[in-house]
């Protein structure tokens, strides 16, 4: 059972961390709480469905196209809506909720509210220490590790990363030092939404596509970022694995309570907000 719990934690934790990193990054840099983050994850899933079913694209091509499309849509949403109101956090939250609802309704209009699916990249499973894991889950974990290394490289080894970190630490000073804060925010939004699209692309072949599918991961992702600390990449990753571990423990030790996963996430969120509102790792991207 311990092996089952560890493997389940790694798989689920990796999925949550991909979503949470994007959400946290954009908060850290642009101070935007983007509730529509998981709606982009949902949009990517529908794009892949449309790509494979309506345009006959290979799933890999459809995934690439979906990530690009969702990233462009995210950038457009930022330029047309969010940028104009980002100085008002409450307005930004409301606008992004509205945006997510609009995306949801558009998907219902276009695809109906049926449950849809896309094929997996590679069929089958492997057995690790007696636990069956699908190849898609293995890919998810590998992609997550690659993504984490890429994020680390981007933030720590490139000028853009330096600018992102500087902006995250102090926007005004970064501006005074000649950095185009607005452009950096735009780039960060692009990366963030790209992550959401990427998460949708690699997770969706194992589950079901429907217009309300953004709500459930939103709750867990919010709990993860609050636990890890809003704006902290490291916190998001650790928070994601803590959440994955909690869920695995519930399923294996309390099978009749496995529906409580969402409630547990919300409980963790509330407890952290009361005891340690800044989360485990503060509010900004670490300089390590």
């Amino acid at each position: 059972m311990v092996v089952d719990i560890i493997i389940s934690t790694l798989i689920n934790g990796s999925i949550y961390s991909i979503l949470a990193i994007g959400f946290s990054l954009v908060f850290g840099v642009a101070r935007i709480i983007n509730i529509a983050h998981t709606a982009f994850y949902m949009l990517a899933a529908f794009c892949i469905y449309a790509g494979t079913n309506s345009f006959g694209l290979h799933p890999v091509l459809a995934m690439g196209a979906a990530i690009i499309f969702v990233t462009i849509l995210g950038l457009a949403s930022y330029k047309l809506i969010i940028e104009k109101i980002r100085v008002h956090p409450a307005a930004t939250i409301i606008a992004t909720i509205a945006l997510a609802m609009i995306f949801q309704e558009i998907m219902i209009l276009n695809f109906g509210a049926e449950f849809l699916s896309v094929p997996v990249l590679v069929e089958g499973f492997t057995v690790v220490f007696g636990v069956k894991i699908t190849y898609q889950q293995v890919f998810t974990f590998i992609f997550m590790v690659i993504l984490l290394i890429s994020v680390w490289f981007l933030l720590m080894k490139t000028k853009l990363g330096l600018a992102i970190r500087a902006t995250a630490q102090d926007r005004e000073t970064a501006n005074l030092m000649g950095m185009n804060e607005s452009m950096i925010a735009l780039v960060t939004i692009g990366i963030s939404v790209g992550f959401a699209g990427f998460a949708g692309a690699i997770v969706i072949p194992l589950t079901v596509i429907h217009p309300h599918m953004w709500l459930s991961p939103l709750i867990i992702m919010m709990a993860v970022v609050v636990l890890g600390g809003l704006g902290s990449i490291k916190g998001s990753i650790i928070g994601a694995f803590i959440m994955g571990l909690t869920e695995a423990i519930i399923v294996f030790l309390l099978p009749m309570g496995s529906f409580l996963k969402g409630s547990v996430a919300l409980t963790i969120l509330i407890i952290v907000l009361i005891i340690k509102p800044e989360g485990l790792f503060g509010v900004s991207i670490e300089g390590e």
Binding site: P217, P255, M256
Partner: protein, 434 residues
């Protein structure tokens, strides 16, 4: 200036007058029978509601209508999207609109128990006959029992209530366990119960705890994922660890798709049976990318099984018009063609109070078998009445596998429906246990 204002007021009165006269003519049109069809129209369940009703309307209207006393009246359907899967408030508003604005004579449909409970109250307040086609909770008819004067306008159309559904599903389970035991030469059968966390499922869980051991099988465990869970691999790992030979599912939402898909991908060596509403859909093979092979679930309509002539005619007409098998919510066809039509023609009136005693005593063939209600207006289950069949996905087709020489009691005659197929087992399961 004054003339201009007077003109504007005049125009406003004219518009109001036209609108008022249109509203009155609409509400007061007594040449048609207005039937409200309520359901989640963006979902397959709602589409089933509408398609079944639409087919009934076309058949009835093309034959001249329904005879009400001395005159023939045609049917007019009013579609109401309840959006009940997402919002109970929307469902209540949709029912309110049907009754107060559209002034329908009857309402058929509904899907989610929690929403139908709210809809039921609105229909009862208006003393409008409401035939449910979708929800399974026994709570709906418990209200008729406890407060007949208020809830007498409610009748269960389909499916059977959750107690009967469960009883029927346990009979399926017993049949499959017996075949499994014999085929794989297993000394004892272990059953894992996986049920989503919703209201109608609670009695099923309670029944499973006592019934499965009483049937001589071991209960390997009970898992209750969220109805919208997008990942159940942890649950599947735990089920495999439990050594279950059969997974008894109780699903009506998206988790039913996710569970089947992930179980198929992981080739869990256990046979799925029970209730999985999504698995009874004609397009489930495509939705699961073929991972539903060998999955068994309760079903109302099956391609290879003929229940009666009414069912055969309905399925043929439905497939011809919509190019697919009907879902269980398409029983709206029988609700109109067999229940309401027969009752109205017998009563010679659309008056709800006159129709109630007729519906209470009605015994009529429908697409799901012989329909009759008990004293709580709940449709009766059992041999000679409606029973729920079991279907299994085999090579891309949803084939009926039960009833197959089923005896309701030791002395009862064996029941088999024409065309029933044998149960198949996944090769990875045979490999695991032989």
């Amino acid at each position: 200036m004054n003339i201009s204002i007077l003109r504007r007021i005049g125009v406003l009165f004219l518009i109001a007058g036209i609108f008022f006269s249109w509203s009155c003519s609409k509400a007061g049109d007594s040449n048609v029978i207005k039937i409200g069809v309520i359901g989640p129209m963006q979902y397959s369940q709602g589409k089933g509601h509408w398609n079944g009703a639409e087919l009934a309307m076309e058949e009835i209207n093309s034959s001249g209508g329904i005879k009400v006393g001395n005159e023939m009246k045609k049917i007019e359907l009013i579609k109401a999207d309840s959006n009940e899967i997402a919002s109970i408030t929307d469902a209540a508003n949709a029912m309110e609109r049907l009754i107060t604005q559209e002034k329908v004579n009857f309402v058929i449909g509904g899907f989610r128990t929690e929403a139908v409970l709210a809809m039921q109250d609105i229909a009862m307040d208006a003393k409008t006959i409401f035939i449910s086609v979708g929800p399974a909770s026994a709570e709906l008819n418990k209200r008729v029992k406890e407060d007949y004067d208020r809830y007498e306008y409610f009748f269960r159309g389909s499916p059977l209530n959750s107690s009967y559904l469960v009883k029927n599903s346990f009979i399926h389970l017993g049949y499959i366990a017996a075949v499994l035991k014999k085929t794989l030469n297993l000394p004892a059968i272990k059953v894992a119960v996986v049920a989503e966390k919703v209201q109608w499922v609670e009695p099923v869980i309670a029944a499973a705890k006592s019934t499965i051991p009483a049937m001589g099988m071991e209960l390997a465990g009970i898992w209750q994922p969220s109805q919208t869970a997008s990942d159940v691999t942890a649950e599947l790992s735990a089920i495999q660890r439990s050594g279950a030979h059969i997974i008894f599912t109780v699903f009506s939402s998206s988790v039913g798709v996710t569970f089947v898909r992930q179980a198929g991908e992981l080739k869990i060596p256990a046979l799925m049976t029970g209730i999985n509403v999504e698995a009874a859909r004609f397009d489930f093979w495509e939705t699961t990318e073929g991972k539903c092979e060998y999955v068994i679930t309760s079903a109302n309509y099956l391609e290879n099984i003929t229940i009666n002539e009414t069912s055969k005619k309905f399925i043929d007409a439905y497939r011809k018009k919509y190019g697919e098998m009907p879902s269980y919510t398409a029983f709206t066809h029988s609700a109109i063609s067999n229940l309401l039509r027969t009752a109205i023609e017998k009563a010679g009136t659309l008056d709800a109070d006159a129709l109630i005693p007729i519906l209470e005593n009605l015994k009529v063939e429908t697409s799901s078998g012989t329909y009759k209600v008990d004293e709580n207006h709940d449709s009766i289950w059992g041999p000679g009445y409606s029973i729920i069949m079991a279907g299994q996905w085999q090579d891309g087709s949803f084939k009926g596998i039960w009833p197959n020489n089923w005896k309701a009691s030791d002395n009862a005659p064996a029941i088999s429906y024409e065309g029933v197929a044998p149960v198949k087992f996944p090769p990875w399961m045979i490999e695991a246990y032989q």
